[in-house]
Symmetry: C2
Subunit: 408 residues, 2 copies
């Protein structure tokens, strides 16, 4: 619905760190499609920057493609370049201190969202049919929603992350951003190694009230039309559900999920990247510097409790959500912030804590999620998300095709 | 049943790359227990060698502990050192060209098995109560079986691998080796963040005939007593099952699983480690050198097909295996080989292809597995394994306690 005609060329978009012309190796389902690759993933012969120049300069060129890149090239798609990412994939904003802020063509004064910022921008600008991103805590879903395109985070562990730089392996996934849902589904099908048919019956669609309550009023209002259309469509049984229905002992709401997520994510980030940071002492953007201080100083005695809570939440959702059920939430609690307005410290302010509360549902629940670009708030794109049960990626991709066909 | 009294001290065992005395940080379930850590995992302040001196020398000391190490230190256990691993965790034999071959105290002329060779040796020698290992294609299960101790490979993705060097992330897991089953279960409980009760009803125990058919006659004979005891115990319903019952269209048996596993594992290994190898050109042991040539030259056009087959196999097992069912197989197709007898090329000879055919069941099926030290072949320990459905780690750990209590 946004940027149907390209308004930005590759240079003007700021989406790319490096252009390429890598032809497909074999014909396949993705014949004729062009894709961009987040520069956190290896493409043979290229250096992977991970969004930081010192990382690029202290690591060799890639000996081979990331497995997910190979899957696409062996299925008919051509790679057109590598895209800007938030530094070391740690961020949801898309403002990279060194490589700039890729354009959000749907709202040029707003951030594109991150960390798969350039991937979202390249697709939203019409420069690529689809792009690979990574999603640890929302890094595909948030930029897709901000830029008014489709985004898919798979069930953790089902798409190969080999050749992709780790951030927090317990949550790291390779996801897809695309300009149309049929393209998203085709690409996901290749990466998952599964055939997606579109005949699946949808059970209950749980409108998660906690997630809507946490979101800006104008986001909720903007999504209302989609929900109304969904309710009258006959696709599934619509039900208002609160987290308390899932977890009757829950007193903390999504805050408990958010806090559990943060402890685990920060601990893992420092375990993955701390050694390089202490050794090399790379220049980092101010927000990235602050983020890594947080991960370094996290109280690791909280980890055993957080692991137990994560498993409890996971198990509760597993028991609650039927194989053909969906959860529906706003993808983000707020529209994309204006450029340059985010606070230095992500734990303060009104943005990160609310957005991560919503994105942590898929992370903690190990659930697949698709965001659909269905609305806007004063011209700024916002997305609606559907999540399915753990491992039900095929069903989710099938169900959202029915929902998306209701129109927007 | 083996090495109840330590016969080897730390130096004599050859199990350790570095000794340490790291006290627990908090009391907990593991109070009083001492553990060793495979030197593929970070311990704060120490260099991680990954079993190769050049890796050690080209990487900084660890800024923090691997998350799994922190979970143990925060639960009352003390760390006594870091253990030898096959180079870059790529091997099942335990013969490290640079750091030697840790002792297999149950059969000193035999290899301990790898890649968690030192972890198995340290536990089997009675020097540690338990040890952390990693298991991608059998690297906890095989050395545990070879050395006559208990070993656990969890469901992929449920125990954090942050701070653990990747080999093939689609299959990489952190597992546990222990001298007694109660210790194994306690440690697994901490790492999983789940309480293991021992009151679970066991459904059908499928004796997988393909796995027994593939194994040495004397291994099958050695395990026969355990199977007979199991059959008369009333624990579960024992059933002879073939792969054909799981996959009626299957014509290739476990060979199809093995070949699918190899393509995916080798592709991922090269995507993870190839860049470093081409850049640094490290000295490697002859077998490791040959292994990496294989991964470099794998035909990556096979990947899309292999991913589809993996998902088909995974789905078939998921449909077949009930939540309280188990699969029973020999842990290894053969007893530990004599030292120095393995061929240079792992694809030839009678050892690796058969062993990996058995270990690939958990890898491809994403199943948790426990090996129990129940028998020996002419004094060489052999193990029997039980696998449960994806995500049923708690049930598996509960069920094997009942089975193990039948005695050996």
């Amino acid at each position: 619905m946004f940027a149907q005609q390209p308004k930005y060329d590759a240079e003007g978009s700021g989406a790319f760190i490096q252009l390429a012309e890598i032809q497909p190796i074999h014909d396949g389902l993705l014949n004729g499609l062009r894709f961009a690759v987040k520069d956190l993933m290896d493409v043979a012969g290229y250096k992977t920057s991970c969004g930081n120049p010192t990382w690029r300069d202290t690591h060799p060129a890639a000996a081979g493609n990331a497995v997910c890149v190979d899957q696409l090239l062996h299925s008919g798609a051509a790679c057109i370049g590598k895209t800007v990412t938030d530094e070391l994939a740690f961020g949801l904003d898309g403002e990279n201190y060194f490589y700039g802020t890729p354009v959000n063509p749907g709202a040029p004064d707003r951030v594109p969202g991150g960390s798969s910022s350039g991937s979202a921008s390249a697709v939203a600008c019409g420069l690529a049919d689809f792009a690979l991103g990574t999603d640890t805590g929302g890094s595909v879903r948030i930029p897709a929603a901000n830029c008014g395109i489709y985004g898919f985070r798979p069930t953790h562990g089902v798409i190969s992350v080999a050749g992709v730089n780790p951030l927090a392996p317990t949550f790291d996934t390779v996801g897809v951003l695309a300009g149309t849902l049929p393209v998203l589904v085709k690409v996901a099908s290749v990466l998952l190694g599964r055939w997606i048919d579109d005949e699946k019956e949808v059970g209950t669609i749980h409108i998660l009230s906690d997630a809507f309550a946490l979101s800006d009023d104008d986001v909720v209002l903007a999504l209302d039309e989609s929900l109304t259309r969904l309710k009258s469509s006959g696709v599934g049984t619509i039900k208002q559900t609160s987290l308390h229905d899932v977890d009757t002992s829950c007193t903390t709401g999504l805050k408990g999920w958010y806090e559990t997520y943060l402890v685990l994510q920060w601990t893992e980030i420092w375990s993955c990247l701390g050694s390089w940071i202490l050794d090399v002492k790379p220049p980092l953007g101010p927000r990235t510097m602050r983020n890594f201080e947080l991960t370094r100083n996290v109280d690791r005695s909280l980890v055993p409790g957080a692991v137990c809570r994560r498993e409890t939440y996971f198990e509760l959702v597993k028991e609650f959500l039927g194989p053909n059920d969906l959860i529906c939430i706003p993808t983000s609690a707020a529209p994309a912030p204006a450029k340059g307005t985010l606070t230095l410290d992500r734990t303060t302010g009104n943005y990160y804590p609310r957005v991560l509360s919503l994105t942590s549902i898929a992370g903690i629940g190990r659930l697949p999620q698709v965001t659909l670009p269905v609305a806007d708030v004063g011209g700024i794109p916002v997305g609606i998300s559907f999540l399915a049960a753990h491992g039900r990626d095929e069903f989710l991709l099938s169900a959202v095709q029915r929902i998306d066909s209701l129109g927007s």
